[in-house]
């Protein structure tokens, strides 16, 4: 047996898969060939090393991300400008909350007489309220309807959220032009609820309601912009 043929058989030999007809000449070749003997020894050690590589764990947010992608694929008709999702630092933990929310408009709201605010005044004076309605599929919280309270200074929007996961979730809500990162946060333990509030001042240029959530390394942002 020549070296080329011996090297073709080295894996089968290491796995005990060579029949007698091949193993006898193979072993005879190894006995006289340092190179092939070293190769067989190395392959046997690599075989053991490779098979001992441990299983790594899937990220906690993988399932959420799978459902987010499925939901996006199944709802192509949702206008993007009304519901925008941004990626958080952990890419796979894309704003999963967004995938679980459906906005449906209904009801009426009475505003203070001279309320002016970019976007919001149109939405509010149009007599609309928004309802954030969670779907199933592994999102760490459920959200209820956006409710409005008006006073002389402006309008306060409130969104009830319930932590439906097994770990605490940190929430914040803001109405801002940008991301509103400085909004106060509230940590909601598993199974508990909280009401997130954000205000729109009279004359504000704020154009978005941001609902942020964080669970460990996973972050998500749900943004709701009123219809102009």
């Amino acid at each position: 047996m020549k070296c080329d043929r011996a090297l073709e058989l080295v894996s089968a030999y290491c796995e005990g898969g060579l029949g007698v007809a091949l193993s006898v000449p193979f072993e005879a070749h190894l006995a006289g060939c340092d190179g092939c003997r070293a190769a067989a020894d190395d392959v046997a050690r690599l075989h053991r090393g490779l098979s001992a590589l441990p299983l790594v764990s899937a990220p906690d947010a993988l399932r959420v991300e799978i459902w987010r992608r499925i939901d996006v694929a199944e709802r192509p008709a949702v206008p993007a400008r009304r519901f925008v999702w941004r990626l958080g630092p952990a890419r796979i933990a894309v704003a999963a909350a967004g995938a679980a929310l459906i906005v449906a408009l209904a009801g009426r709201t009475v505003l203070p007489g001279a309320f002016r605010s970019a976007g919001w005044s149109h939405w509010l004076t149009g007599g609309q309220t928004a309802r954030l309605q969670p779907q199933a599929s592994g999102v760490p919280f459920a959200a209820g309807a956006i409710s409005l309270q008006t006073d002389k200074a402006g309008v306060t929007l409130s969104v009830p959220v319930t932590n439906t996961s097994k770990s605490p979730v940190v929430f914040s809500a803001s109405v801002a032009q940008g991301d509103g990162d400085d909004a106060p946060t509230v940590t909601v333990p598993p199974g508990m609820s909280a009401v997130l509030s954000a205000s729109v001042a009279d004359g504000s240029n704020a154009t978005r309601l941001n609902v942020r959530w964080k669970q460990g390394p996973v972050t998500g942002v749900a943004e709701y912009s009123p219809r102009r």
């Binding site: 058989l9 490779l50 590589l53 299983l55 899937a58 906690d60 459902w67």
Partner: protein
């Protein structure tokens, strides 16, 4: 040691009561999303692990694994059950990984400073911190790192074989079914892959 994302151990009685994959697939076809959620929970670790060993990093692995489940969800109508569900999703995962590699080779890299156009504004592209998660730390020993690095340097067709056989514990027959190749081709590719790994690790063989 328990890893993040591990499911609590199940008893034999609990396992016996679980619906099999085909039943869950049938329920999913009938519109039961919780059935597909069960399939995800049951197989996500194996699928992610395959993707992780193929991609060599957790970020791309999660992307590939998520795409694989979405493709499976959208293709359930065509699943006949000739092979097991896991074999089927392994084949899909491998194909998605290979497609992604082709696209990556054909596409220039994006700058970290590139702005991403959003709805009505632009934000700077954000990237995940690749620091190992606690559950991965134990795996990152010297031998494991050396092996993963060497596997990542194998040609795609060899890497797929090595990962499925050694990491996923698939038989030659199962790999042949998943890859759509004759068993003889699988065996010869694996043999050449091991010899290639030996060359790549020739200065580190003392680790083994």
């Amino acid at each position: 040691m328990a890893q993040p994302g591990d499911q609590p151990p199940r008893t034999n009685a609990e396992r016996a009561q679980e619906p099999d994959d085909m039943l869950l697939i049938q329920r999913t076809r009938e519109g039961d999303r919780t059935a597909f959620d069960q399939l995800i929970r049951r197989h996500e670790r194996r699928v992610y692990n395959l993707a992780y060993r193929l991609c060599g990093n957790p970020d791309d692995a999660a992307d590939v694994a998520a795409d694989a489940f979405v493709r499976v969800y959208n293709s359930l109508a065509s699943f006949r059950g000739d092979a097991s569900f896991l074999t089927w999703i392994y084949r899909i995962t491998t194909n998605i990984y290979l497609d992604a590699r082709k696209r990556k080779r054909a596409r220039p890299q994006v700058s970290l400073d590139e702005l991403v156009e959003m709805d009505d504004s632009a934000i700077t592209r954000q990237y995940e911190d690749h620091a190992p998660l606690p559950g991965e730390v134990a795996e990152l020993n010297e031998r494991g790192r050396a092996l993963q690095d060497a596997v990542s340097r194998l040609p795609d067709y060899q890497r797929v074989m090595v990962v499925m056989y050694h990491v996923e514990g698939k038989s030659y027959e199962e790999i042949a079914a998943a890859a759509g190749l004759p068993i003889g081709t699988v065996k010869s590719r694996l043999n050449r892959a091991r010899l290639a790994l030996r060359d790549l690790l020739k200065d580190q063989m003392e680790l083994f």
